[in-house]
Amino acid sequence: MAAAAVHVGLLPKTQKPSKQVLLSLPYFDTQKSDDHGILQFVGNCGEDLVFSVGMETEADHVIKALKNLFALANEDMGQVKFIKTMPVVNRWMKMGGVASRVFGLKGIGRPLVTYGLSLAFADIVQLVDEVSSGSEREI
Protein backbone atom coordinates (compact mmCIF):
# COMPACT_ATOMS: atom_id res chain seq x y z
CA MET A 1 0.00 0.00 0.00
CA ALA A 2 2.76 2.46 0.96
CA ALA A 3 4.77 1.53 -2.14
CA ALA A 4 1.74 2.14 -4.35
CA ALA A 5 1.16 5.47 -2.60
CA VAL A 6 4.77 6.50 -3.27
CA HIS A 7 4.40 5.35 -6.89
CA VAL A 8 1.37 7.56 -7.57
CA GLY A 9 2.74 10.50 -5.59
CA LEU A 10 0.43 10.33 -2.58
CA LEU A 11 3.57 10.13 -0.43
CA PRO A 12 6.53 12.36 -1.32
CA LYS A 13 9.76 10.42 -1.85
CA THR A 14 11.93 12.97 -0.12
CA GLN A 15 10.27 12.99 3.27
CA LYS A 16 9.53 10.21 5.72
CA PRO A 17 5.77 10.16 6.23
CA SER A 18 4.36 10.83 9.67
CA LYS A 19 2.02 8.42 11.39
CA GLN A 20 -0.94 10.70 10.66
CA VAL A 21 -0.11 10.85 6.95
CA LEU A 22 0.20 7.07 6.73
CA LEU A 23 -3.07 6.47 8.54
CA SER A 24 -4.84 8.89 6.20
CA LEU A 25 -3.87 6.85 3.12
CA PRO A 26 -6.76 5.08 1.38
CA TYR A 27 -7.00 1.42 2.43
CA PHE A 28 -4.15 1.73 4.96
CA ASP A 29 -4.56 -1.08 7.51
CA THR A 30 -8.19 -1.56 6.52
CA GLN A 31 -7.87 -5.00 4.93
CA LYS A 32 -9.17 -8.11 6.59
CA SER A 33 -7.85 -11.56 5.68
CA ASP A 34 -10.91 -12.20 3.53
CA ASP A 35 -10.07 -9.14 1.42
CA HIS A 36 -6.68 -10.52 0.40
CA GLY A 37 -6.43 -11.03 -3.33
CA ILE A 38 -8.79 -8.16 -4.18
CA LEU A 39 -7.16 -5.36 -6.18
CA GLN A 40 -7.38 -1.92 -4.59
CA PHE A 41 -7.02 1.04 -6.92
CA VAL A 42 -4.56 3.53 -5.45
CA GLY A 43 -4.15 6.01 -8.31
CA ASN A 44 -2.61 6.85 -11.67
CA CYS A 45 0.99 7.35 -12.64
CA GLY A 46 0.89 8.90 -16.09
CA GLU A 47 -1.20 6.49 -18.10
CA ASP A 48 -0.52 3.60 -15.76
CA LEU A 49 -3.00 2.41 -13.17
CA VAL A 50 -1.52 1.44 -9.82
CA PHE A 51 -3.16 -1.07 -7.49
CA SER A 52 -2.23 -2.68 -4.21
CA VAL A 53 -3.19 -6.20 -3.24
CA GLY A 54 -2.61 -8.35 -0.16
CA MET A 55 -1.19 -11.82 -0.82
CA GLU A 56 0.12 -12.91 2.61
CA THR A 57 3.10 -15.17 1.79
CA GLU A 58 1.49 -16.78 -1.26
CA ALA A 59 2.29 -14.21 -3.95
CA ASP A 60 4.58 -16.48 -5.99
CA HIS A 61 2.10 -19.36 -6.06
CA VAL A 62 -0.97 -17.25 -6.74
CA ILE A 63 0.59 -15.17 -9.51
CA LYS A 64 2.08 -18.27 -11.13
CA ALA A 65 -1.38 -19.88 -11.06
CA LEU A 66 -3.02 -16.75 -12.51
CA LYS A 67 -0.53 -16.57 -15.38
CA ASN A 68 -1.18 -20.25 -16.06
CA LEU A 69 -4.94 -19.67 -16.04
CA PHE A 70 -4.56 -16.90 -18.64
CA ALA A 71 -2.34 -19.16 -20.73
CA LEU A 72 -4.90 -22.00 -20.58
CA ALA A 73 -7.63 -19.60 -21.73
CA ASN A 74 -5.38 -18.15 -24.49
CA GLU A 75 -5.83 -14.69 -23.02
CA ASP A 76 -3.19 -11.99 -22.97
CA MET A 77 -2.49 -10.16 -19.71
CA GLY A 78 -1.07 -7.20 -21.58
CA GLN A 79 1.17 -4.73 -19.80
CA VAL A 80 0.59 -5.93 -16.23
CA LYS A 81 3.51 -5.84 -13.80
CA PHE A 82 3.32 -7.63 -10.46
CA ILE A 83 5.77 -6.17 -7.97
CA LYS A 84 6.56 -8.05 -4.78
CA THR A 85 7.04 -5.71 -1.83
CA MET A 86 7.74 -8.38 0.78
CA PRO A 87 11.54 -7.90 0.47
CA VAL A 88 11.21 -4.43 2.06
CA VAL A 89 8.83 -5.51 4.83
CA ASN A 90 10.63 -5.59 8.17
CA ARG A 91 9.84 -7.38 11.42
CA TRP A 92 8.01 -4.37 12.93
CA MET A 93 5.62 -4.26 10.01
CA LYS A 94 5.05 -8.02 10.20
CA MET A 95 4.37 -7.91 13.94
CA GLY A 96 2.10 -4.90 13.56
CA GLY A 97 0.21 -6.52 10.70
CA VAL A 98 -0.37 -9.69 12.71
CA ALA A 99 -1.43 -7.75 15.82
CA SER A 100 -3.78 -5.54 13.84
CA ARG A 101 -5.31 -8.01 11.42
CA VAL A 102 -5.12 -11.41 13.12
CA PHE A 103 -5.76 -10.33 16.71
CA GLY A 104 -7.69 -7.14 15.96
CA LEU A 105 -5.34 -5.13 18.22
CA LYS A 106 -5.15 -1.98 16.11
CA GLY A 107 -3.98 0.07 19.08
CA ILE A 108 -0.78 -2.01 19.19
CA GLY A 109 -0.53 -2.99 15.54
CA ARG A 110 -0.79 0.41 13.88
CA PRO A 111 2.06 2.10 15.79
CA LEU A 112 4.28 -0.92 15.04
CA VAL A 113 3.42 -0.81 11.33
CA THR A 114 3.92 2.95 11.04
CA TYR A 115 7.24 2.73 12.92
CA GLY A 116 8.36 -0.14 10.66
CA LEU A 117 7.30 1.81 7.59
CA SER A 118 9.30 4.85 8.60
CA LEU A 119 12.38 2.61 9.00
CA ALA A 120 11.80 0.93 5.63
CA PHE A 121 10.79 4.06 3.76
CA ALA A 122 14.11 4.51 1.94
CA ASP A 123 13.93 0.89 0.73
CA ILE A 124 10.33 1.40 -0.42
CA VAL A 125 11.33 4.51 -2.39
CA GLN A 126 14.25 2.63 -3.95
CA LEU A 127 11.94 -0.24 -4.94
CA VAL A 128 9.46 2.17 -6.55
CA ASP A 129 12.27 3.99 -8.37
CA GLU A 130 13.58 0.69 -9.74
CA VAL A 131 10.12 -0.33 -10.90
CA SER A 132 9.42 3.09 -12.45
CA SER A 133 12.72 3.04 -14.30
CA GLY A 134 11.91 -0.36 -15.76
CA SER A 135 14.28 -2.45 -13.67
CA GLU A 136 13.06 -5.99 -13.31
CA ARG A 137 11.59 -6.53 -9.86
CA GLU A 138 8.61 -8.38 -11.28
CA ILE A 139 7.38 -11.72 -10.08
Partner: protein, 146 residues
Protein backbone atom coordinates in the same frame (compact mmCIF):
# COMPACT_ATOMS: atom_id res chain seq x y z
CA UNK B 1 -15.75 -23.87 -19.15
CA UNK B 2 -12.40 -24.59 -17.50
CA UNK B 3 -12.73 -26.39 -14.17
CA UNK B 4 -9.80 -26.05 -11.76
CA UNK B 5 -9.86 -28.00 -8.51
CA UNK B 6 -7.27 -26.87 -6.04
CA UNK B 7 -5.98 -27.82 -2.61
CA UNK B 8 -2.70 -27.35 -0.73
CA UNK B 9 -0.25 -29.41 -2.79
CA UNK B 10 -2.50 -30.73 -5.56
CA UNK B 11 -1.52 -34.24 -4.61
CA UNK B 12 -4.60 -35.63 -2.88
CA UNK B 13 -7.89 -33.77 -2.56
CA UNK B 14 -7.90 -31.92 -5.86
CA UNK B 15 -6.70 -34.89 -7.91
CA UNK B 16 -9.47 -37.02 -6.39
CA UNK B 17 -12.04 -34.25 -6.96
CA UNK B 18 -10.99 -34.08 -10.62
CA UNK B 19 -11.38 -37.87 -10.85
CA UNK B 20 -14.87 -37.57 -9.34
CA UNK B 21 -15.71 -34.88 -11.87
CA UNK B 22 -14.57 -37.16 -14.71
CA UNK B 23 -16.51 -40.12 -13.25
CA UNK B 24 -13.28 -42.09 -12.84
CA UNK B 25 -14.27 -42.35 -9.17
CA UNK B 26 -17.66 -42.18 -7.50
CA UNK B 27 -18.80 -41.61 -3.93
CA UNK B 28 -18.50 -45.34 -3.18
CA UNK B 29 -14.99 -45.86 -4.52
CA UNK B 30 -12.55 -47.75 -2.30
CA UNK B 31 -9.16 -46.82 -0.91
CA UNK B 32 -7.49 -49.01 -3.54
CA UNK B 33 -9.40 -47.17 -6.30
CA UNK B 34 -8.04 -43.89 -4.93
CA UNK B 35 -4.51 -45.28 -4.67
CA UNK B 36 -4.82 -46.47 -8.27
CA UNK B 37 -5.35 -42.94 -9.61
CA UNK B 38 -2.61 -41.85 -11.95
CA UNK B 39 -1.95 -38.53 -10.21
CA UNK B 40 -2.67 -39.42 -6.59
CA UNK B 41 0.20 -38.24 -4.35
CA UNK B 42 2.33 -37.25 -7.33
CA UNK B 43 2.58 -33.44 -7.27
CA UNK B 44 5.32 -31.93 -5.14
CA UNK B 45 5.68 -28.50 -3.49
CA UNK B 46 7.59 -27.16 -6.51
CA UNK B 47 4.50 -27.90 -8.67
CA UNK B 48 2.31 -25.51 -6.70
CA UNK B 49 0.61 -23.04 -9.05
CA UNK B 50 0.80 -25.34 -12.07
CA UNK B 51 -2.55 -26.76 -13.26
CA UNK B 52 -2.47 -30.38 -14.41
CA UNK B 53 -5.00 -31.57 -16.98
CA UNK B 54 -6.90 -34.56 -15.60
CA UNK B 55 -9.12 -34.96 -18.68
CA UNK B 56 -12.26 -33.68 -20.36
CA UNK B 57 -15.72 -34.24 -18.93
CA UNK B 58 -18.89 -35.35 -20.73
CA UNK B 59 -19.42 -31.79 -22.02
CA UNK B 60 -15.84 -31.61 -23.27
CA UNK B 61 -14.86 -29.15 -20.54
CA UNK B 62 -11.20 -29.41 -19.51
CA UNK B 63 -10.76 -30.42 -15.88
CA UNK B 64 -7.56 -29.45 -14.08
CA UNK B 65 -6.22 -29.84 -10.57
CA UNK B 66 -3.42 -27.94 -8.87
CA UNK B 67 -1.88 -26.98 -5.56
CA UNK B 68 -2.08 -23.41 -4.32
CA UNK B 69 -0.46 -23.66 -0.91
CA UNK B 70 -2.44 -21.53 1.52
CA UNK B 71 -3.44 -19.21 -1.30
CA UNK B 72 -6.66 -20.89 -2.44
CA UNK B 73 -8.98 -18.16 -1.24
CA UNK B 74 -6.56 -15.42 -2.36
CA UNK B 75 -6.36 -16.94 -5.84
CA UNK B 76 -10.14 -16.96 -6.21
CA UNK B 77 -10.40 -13.27 -5.29
CA UNK B 78 -7.30 -12.27 -7.25
CA UNK B 79 -8.23 -14.05 -10.48
CA UNK B 80 -11.73 -12.54 -10.62
CA UNK B 81 -10.40 -9.13 -9.59
CA UNK B 82 -7.70 -9.09 -12.29
CA UNK B 83 -10.16 -10.33 -14.94
CA UNK B 84 -12.58 -7.54 -13.97
CA UNK B 85 -9.91 -4.84 -14.17
CA UNK B 86 -8.58 -6.09 -17.50
CA UNK B 87 -12.06 -6.58 -18.92
CA UNK B 88 -11.23 -10.19 -19.72
CA UNK B 89 -13.92 -12.84 -19.55
CA UNK B 90 -12.45 -16.25 -18.88
CA UNK B 91 -14.95 -19.07 -18.62
CA UNK B 92 -13.49 -20.87 -15.63
CA UNK B 93 -14.52 -22.15 -12.26
CA UNK B 94 -12.05 -22.69 -9.45
CA UNK B 95 -13.08 -24.99 -6.66
CA UNK B 96 -11.30 -25.01 -3.33
CA UNK B 97 -11.18 -28.58 -2.03
CA UNK B 98 -9.59 -27.76 1.33
CA UNK B 99 -12.94 -27.76 3.19
CA UNK B 100 -12.85 -31.54 2.61
CA UNK B 101 -9.45 -31.92 4.27
CA UNK B 102 -9.31 -34.36 7.18
CA UNK B 103 -6.55 -34.91 9.69
CA UNK B 104 -5.70 -38.32 8.17
CA UNK B 105 -5.16 -36.78 4.72
CA UNK B 106 -3.03 -34.01 6.16
CA UNK B 107 -0.94 -36.46 8.23
CA UNK B 108 -0.64 -38.90 5.33
CA UNK B 109 0.40 -36.15 2.95
CA UNK B 110 3.08 -35.03 5.38
CA UNK B 111 4.41 -38.55 5.96
CA UNK B 112 4.42 -39.47 2.26
CA UNK B 113 7.03 -36.79 1.61
CA UNK B 114 9.59 -39.01 3.33
CA UNK B 115 10.72 -41.83 1.08
CA UNK B 116 10.87 -44.45 3.84
CA UNK B 117 7.24 -43.89 4.83
CA UNK B 118 5.84 -43.10 1.39
CA UNK B 119 3.55 -46.15 1.18
CA UNK B 120 2.19 -45.61 4.68
CA UNK B 121 1.63 -41.90 4.00
CA UNK B 122 -0.15 -42.57 0.71
CA UNK B 123 -2.39 -45.13 2.36
CA UNK B 124 -3.31 -42.82 5.25
CA UNK B 125 -4.00 -39.94 2.85
CA UNK B 126 -6.19 -42.19 0.70
CA UNK B 127 -8.08 -43.36 3.81
CA UNK B 128 -8.69 -39.74 4.82
CA UNK B 129 -9.95 -38.89 1.35
CA UNK B 130 -12.14 -42.01 1.31
CA UNK B 131 -13.85 -40.96 4.55
CA UNK B 132 -14.82 -37.64 2.97
CA UNK B 133 -15.57 -38.93 -0.51
CA UNK B 134 -19.32 -38.31 -0.25
CA UNK B 135 -18.70 -34.70 0.79
CA UNK B 136 -16.23 -34.26 -2.05
CA UNK B 137 -18.71 -35.74 -4.48
CA UNK B 138 -21.30 -33.17 -3.37
CA UNK B 139 -18.71 -30.43 -3.84
CA UNK B 140 -18.02 -31.64 -7.39
CA UNK B 141 -21.71 -31.96 -8.28
CA UNK B 142 -22.31 -28.45 -6.97
CA UNK B 143 -19.41 -27.12 -9.07
CA UNK B 144 -20.71 -28.87 -12.20
CA UNK B 145 -24.25 -27.62 -11.72
CA UNK B 146 -23.64 -24.02 -10.70
Amino acid sequence: MIFIYHCYRGAHLSSVAAALHLNILNSHSSVSDILGLEYFDKLQPQDIGVPVLAGHDENNNPVYFMGLGRGGHIFSCFASSVCDELGVEIQYRDINCLPCLRFLTRAGGFISRYRTFRRLGRYLAAMGVRKNLAKMHRLVLHAKDS
